[in-house]
């Protein structure tokens, strides 16, 4: 019921205030009646029961994805260091 999926706006019909969106490769239409910001073709929106609920903030999404990458990079570095330390602690044959 609550699962809503991010979609990309492909076209907007100004008269009916209905847009066509791409959701994981499937095209469908959604009402823009609840959107309080300016939306344009190419924007990402969250669709729920036939309505665009809100625009997805591209900067925030990118920032999150970058943050995740940093965490992974840091982890991998730590993991690498842990490996080196472990091997140094190994009794020399």
């Amino acid at each position: 019921m609550c699962l809503s999926i991010p979609s990309k706006i492909k076209s907007i019909d100004k008269e009916s205030n209905i847009c066509t969106v791409d959701t994981m490769g499937i095209e469908r239409s959604a009402s823009l009646d609840l959107i309080d910001q300016d939306v344009k073709v190419g924007d990402y929106v969250l669709i729920h029961i036939g309505f665009a609920m809100n625009k997805i903030d591209e900067e925030d999404a990118i920032e999150s994805l970058k943050l995740y990458q940093e965490i992974i990079d840091k982890m991998e570095e730590e993991e690498r260091q842990a490996l080196i330390q472990e091997s140094e602690n190994c009794p020399k044959s």
Partner: protein
Amino acid sequence: MQLELKDLYDGFRDAKTIKAYKKIIEEDAKKLNRTINIMEVCGGHTHTIMKYGIPQLLPSNIKFIHGPGCPVCIMPKERIDHAYILSMQDDVILVTLGDMIKVPGSNGSLQDARSKGADVRFVYSPMDCLKIAKENPTKKIIFFAIGFETTTPMTAALLDIVIKQEIKNIFFHINHVTVPEVMRELIDSRDEHVDSYNHNIDAFLGPSHVSVISGSKIYEEFPKNYKKPVVVAGFEPVDVMQAISMIVKQFCEDRCELEIEYKRLVTYEGNIKAQELINKYFQKVCLFKWRGLGNIKDSGLKLKAEYSKYDAEVIYKEILPIEEIEDHKLCICSDILRGMASPTDCTIFGTACKPNKPVGSCMVSSEGACAAYYKYGNLLK
């Protein structure tokens, strides 16, 4: 970096990121010499948590309590009976969303009504009512409206069109409910059972899409007045892991705050246009009965008196019963929804109560805690 749809789908489900957060949470959780019980209020979160096996990724002192946030599950039999009776009227087409059609009332489900000849239709959007109304000018289309703050503005938007376009044959049976009231009820109504079950709500994962509409501001009272941190989280597994990490960090640093993990969609203020539409057409009802939880003060909405000519509950008052119906005696959904028991504690779980023949609210929709345990429960073994 330019954002692609793929980033939104894959990025927030990335296995490496989930593992990285697992490590961060493990390190932080070691600093706590206590257990943290996190309630995910929303059924969408329950689904993600079970689907991606998140409990197994977490250290033993971080636990989930599954909350009452599934609009289909919490619908009491009384309201389903209303829908059933309305659908049985000769000139009525009853329209509703989601799994609502499968939920049993005392006479059966809407699916059963359909098999007896009732015209019951399931739609993906309330807007589909417009087409049905146009194609069936001699029928009364009753939209059986369900859902939390997330779906309320869509019902309001449909009513807005009905009024503006002077459509004469669309009516509403309103069952919209609100989240902060039930959260308050769960915290306030703790009783002596809690100690024996050794459960307690320490923090909340804030519902994602409710918050897109209402803004994070609706949870402000919980850290402030109840000392329960709230982190509004998205539905993807990385969102949930990050939000848990944020909650654990708050406990490590002795903070108690309202934070947003789901910044790409949620703001403090929310969607003002949607809120205005809700406020234009809806008012609070004094008591709304939740399946499994009973009557909760101010937790439901109804149409304002000036729109009563669109209100099926007013129009069909004579034929809609008002008697209360008891929940099934063996069902422990009430305890599960209050965080005092787990689905597997229930004697009828998976036996007399299954997704295709649910007894209690938590088994009713795929987003209910029992249904999620039933579907993904093998992961817990």
